[in-house]
Subunit: 340 residues, 2 copies
């Protein structure tokens, strides 16, 4: 006996194949009545889902979904603008979801985007995401996915990143070459790969220059690397070490700006008393006094590149071509200004 | 003879009522084949759409759509965070769309959100939106809508705004009381209501203080009130007027920051040579040197209030209660810092 198909269930009940498929997957836009009908019949016919049938659509929706952790960072605004530029040219609409660095919300966003039939998903993971079953679900549904900036090495898909470790290594090496010996690090959360890599780059630069690594000089930013994080870390650093620390390498420009504000409020001179180095090259970094040295992170290009890879993958999928995953590493550069 | 209903068409063709309704409205997620079937039958049966049948859903999707002009302004990030706080508490997911100040894109976003069955829409209009048929379409579909910040007075729906004219009037009056007599204005685009109102407040403050209004002192920011706009306007102002202008009232803090950068680059001292006043109270305004005087615009509260009004309207609609529109005007205040 041949296995029962979705189509047969659909025809028996007078429903569309899509409705039957969604009913079996408990989608919210199918009525409870239809869910019951479908599930009862599927059970009585011993229906076994066919994994290759999960993607039932043959028509593109011409929309892509983007999940980002926050819009408050200028970096992500740049990424969004890069994505929009490419998507618009190709006639795609972009649905944005902001996870607010919340893993549970990120999971719900993934479900919503799958449910809304987007053709592909671009995603930068929240700082709290340490389980990737929701990401794997996207791939199980056959939906093209490209991760950017905050990625996980354990997910097998296309990625657009920078080399955070090397960039951080270069920044800290620059500080050491300028004569700084006691260099603190205001680091990001423990989970995100870019936060880990920037920390590792910091540590490696110290070791390679014969400066002993001192864990007490590393401060965690717990409020998603924002202005207050930098302000508070500078306060604790100053309380614990007085003026003995001569430079700080910060996880982001916003954190560095918070530190700068603390030093300003307490008449500690930057760069004379303490040097500061940021990361991201936010446009404000060239405006504040002193202007901030930083790692230029190409947000706009990252958005464009991610969108291009995703749209290629979508096109290949619809043409029935084999999809291969790429990892693109974009160049960064040090931008030296007045703060060090 | 009774008029033909959607339901009859649906039953005749073995399609769902939703599919028939969407086919008649030319929705992209209905196949061309079904569109032709439905439209041919509707034509042959002389089907006349019933306006009260446009909203066919009886179940909430528990998602709301938000269309904003840009994420690059910290103000909109704050609004989004306010919206997310309220939406999350009530179990709603938020779909964001960024129009990039593009009217055509804004129209497509409206269509997409209607098509994706959101329960309600929150919207801040693009600088280029001067036709409101897409907004009226939302209301015609019976979808609750709340406009915030950049609204149109000609659309009849709930609104959350600030009193831009009074806020601008107070800022410019403050500059006049401090002894400034030749005050320039870096204004926004001609279309948005908040740009018009801030300009009118500026003008009225001059008139009420017996300072003649001089149109040559008003500079248009054409690049969506960004940093470069402020920089370029300051450059032209300086070229045209040398050091005879003693203060500038800017449409946004970002524009003021751009102007500040120009003056810094050209050794013109703020506030000694020229005073600056911004609008929005971006968090960076308290960090730059000199710190910037501004109008505090309550973005987070605006997001919360808009979301609350929208969710109330959605709930009332589903309970069959009469919906009444509200306009909420949130308080602003002057924040005086070093720049004036």
């Amino acid at each position: 006996m041949k296995p029962v198909t979705l189509k047969q269930i659909a025809e028996t009940l007078g429903l569309s194949v899509a409705t039957v498929s969604k009913a079996l997957r408990n989608y919210p836009d199918v009525s409870e009545k239809n869910k019951k009908l479908v599930n009862d019949l599927a059970k009585s016919l011993n229906y076994v889902p066919n994994p290759s049938a999960v993607n039932l659509r043959t028509q593109k929706s011409k929309t892509i979904g983007v999940i980002i952790p926050a819009t408050v960072h200028h970096f992500f605004s740049n990424v969004i603008n890069g994505i929009l530029e490419v998507a618009e040219k190709e006639g795609y609409l972009v649905i944005l979801m902001q996870s607010n660095e919340n893993y549970e919300l990120e999971k719900r966003h993934v479900d919503l985007l799958i449910n809304k039939n987007v053709d592909g998903i671009l995603m930068s993971l929240s700082n709290k995401t340490n389980n990737f079953s929701h990401i794997k679900k996207i791939l199980d549904f056959g939906i093209p996915l490209t991760l950017f900036d905050k990625i996980s090495k354990s997910v097998n898909c296309s990625k657009v990143i920078i080399d955070d470790k090397t960039a951080a290594y270069n920044a800290v090496t620059y500080l050491i070459k300028k004569g700084h010996k006691k260099i603190a690090h205001f680091r990001g959360d423990l989970i995100p790969q870019n936060s880990i890599d920037r920390f590792l780059g910091y540590k490696q630069a110290l070791i390679d220059n014969n400066i002993p690594y001192d864990a007490s000089l590393v401060f965690m930013c717990n409020n998603n690397n924002d202005f207050k994080d930098g302000y508070n870390a500078a306060k604790i650093l100053h309380k614990n070490f007085g003026d003995s620390v001569d430079a700080i390498f910060c996880i982001t420009d916003v954190v560095a700006t918070g530190a700068l504000k603390y030093f300003r409020d307490n008449s500690i001179k930057v760069p004379e008393d303490i040097a500061l180095f940021g990361f991201s090259d936010w446009f404000m970094s060239s405006v504040i006094t002193p202007t901030l040295s930083t790692v230029h992170q190409p947000g706009f290009e990252m958005g464009k590149e991610s969108a291009k890879i995703l749209l290629d993958e979508i096109n290949n999928k619809y043409k029935g071509k084999t999809v291969s995953y790429k990892t693109v590493v974009l160049d960064t550069k040090l931008v030296i200004r007045e703060s060090c």
